[in-house]
């Protein structure tokens, strides 16, 4: 007479052991899958294209972070190191000195250092910069355009809808890859990387 088979009964220990093993296997599979697919999707952050910026001053007033997370950046390879810097001095400044009445920046956020005749170096003091672009505009119009604005990602809180982007009249804001979060100006146009190129990369 055939022996009646009874269903396998799992011991409590076996149940826990199998449960952990299956969980671990699935978690590893999930992790692997996420890593594989997740790496294809780029994480993005907000940035403004300096080539589109019209220096409207909204960056200083519309950012939810105050002072703004947008700051002026100096591109040293582009700068002309002029004694008369149009981004630093008021138009027709009485004297080319660091006296407050001669300076264009409302917060004294530009440091002017003599290098050697005839060169002067201009540095942005970021703690003081409010992103108003008052220096950027004349530098762009009359100088080498070495001053420009960028969102600083050590300050930006990365809102879903950037409040500056919503007000930007030239639509200079776009999402760029988080691992390439700055649109830096370069000395030649050939070297310039545009957001369009970011999206192709």
């Amino acid at each position: 007479m055939a022996e009646l088979k009874t269903p396998d009964k799992l011991s409590r220990f076996e149940f826990i052991r199998q449960g952990i093993a299956r969980t671990a296997a699935l978690a590893l599979g999930f992790l692997g899958g996420f890593a594989a697919f997740g790496s294809r999707k780029k994480n993005t952050v907000w940035q403004l294209d300096p080539m589109k910026c019209v220096q409207c001053e909204h960056c200083s007033t519309e950012c939810v972070v105050q002072p703004s997370a947008v700051k002026c950046v100096q591109s040293y390879p582009i700068c002309g190191y002029c004694r008369l810097c149009f981004g630093y001095f008021e138009p027709n400044a009485p004297e080319l000195t660091a006296a407050a009445e001669n300076q264009l920046c409302p917060t004294n956020a530009i440091e002017r250092i003599f290098v050697e005749d005839p060169y002067w170096e201009y540095n942005i003091i970021e703690d003081l910069c409010i992103g108003c672009a008052k220096c950027v505009k004349p530098c762009e119009q009359f100088g080498n355009a070495s001053f420009y604005l960028q969102i600083r990602h050590d300050l930006c809180v990365d809102c879903n809808n950037c409040s500056i982007a919503m007000q930007c009249p030239s639509e200079a804001f776009s999402r760029v890859p988080a691992d390439q979060p700055y649109i830096l100006k370069h000395k030649t146009r050939e070297q310039q990387v545009t957001p369009a190129q970011f999206s192709q990369s």
Partner: protein, 487 residues
Amino acid sequence: MNERQLSMVLVGVIVFICGGFLFLLLRTEPNVQLPKRVTNVRDEMLAGHMGAGAGETKEAEEAVKIGEHFETFDGKAGETKAFWPHFRGADFSNISKDTVPLANSWPKQGPPVLWSLDLSEGHSGAAIWKGRVYLMDFDIEREGDALRCFSMEDGREIWRRWYKSPTKVHHGISRTVPAVTDKYVVTIGPKCHVMCVDTETGDFRWGVGMIEDYGTLMPEWYTAQCPLIDNDVAVVAPCGKEVLMMGIDCATGEIAWKTPNPDGWNMSHSSIIPMTLLGKRQYVYCSATGVVSVGAEGDDLGKVLWKTAAWAHSVTSPSPIRVDDERVFLTVGYGGGSMMLKLKDEGGQIATEPVFELDKKTFACEQQTPILYQDHLFTIMPNDGGGLRNQFVCMTTDGKMAWSSGKEERFGFGPFLVADGKVFILNDNGEFTMIRASTKGYEKLGHCKPLKGRDAWAPMAIVDGKLILRDSETVICLDLRDKGSQT
């Protein structure tokens, strides 16, 4: 639910929690830091991006011995019928009076390039005299200002007169146009050194250091003042501690006359323009502190006829334009605009009065001087010219806009001149455009890109249908003649 089903549910819950945790973990952006300095200024200097000599600390400069060196080469003077003897041509109008017909259109590649030469970085323009081209250049290796004489025919160098004057690249170096007559060539170097040499042989006549001898305050980015020769007298504006303007006898180098500078007016990038106003021949100059007119003949020679501080801009490049016997037009860039100045004879004294002023968005010019053409003014609007930014515009001398090139046709800081009823415009990047010289509207006739470099800002010169133009480091000669007129 049996134990197997229970185990599957448990596994699912754990996977969901782990997955969610991993998702949140991976979604958090890295705290990316932009370097405080995009690059390092001193690295840039060492890499040579800031020009010759940058980054080195030099001892006090040696005294400059103007005209100390001379070299000859194998070039031979060509033959030219017309002249372009100094800044803005024979009559300072920047309008060629040549009768040589120029082509009304170009092939796709543009007009033929007759010859081309490399120069050091700068914005100096050419003067043309009897088959020779005279051009200020800078010898980077030997650190010297050099007056170079080329053949107009093939661009081969004939001779070079130079002197050591260490100068660092600062938006270029050389930026003036020599003045030439049958006997003399007068130049002004970037650091305000005036030199006079023989037109044909290049023999040195004399030199004057306006900074060393007259206490001139050199303008930013070196001087762009172009010299003037009038009746064998070189006329320059040192704007020094005591002398505002002076005449130097070309034959002897002796000072023929001096105009005092009691108000301490400073040198600009503008040039002295001779003109006749209220029947008096005079030299008009826009300093960085005001406009002055100095008598150019008779008892008035060297005397201030009129001056006004109503037109004072710290960076002034355009030169004054005579509109008629009693009006002078002044313009500037860098946030300035324009002014029409009217002169009145009040009991033997000349008084000035602004007729109208225009803001930077209406009419201005940054680096070039507008052209007066058929009672209209041509200019290229500056970068801060609002909607007209970088457009070529035409305005009546009453200050009414006649036309502009439109938003699709914008230019830069480059030069423009009129020849054979056409305007030739050079853009910063070497693009070259020909339009009809008209007071009615913008009509484009041709476009090409004969220069590959940047900062093509030097004034152009044209004789016999051949145009000399340059970018920051290359000069070329273009044949603009109509094919039917070429021999």
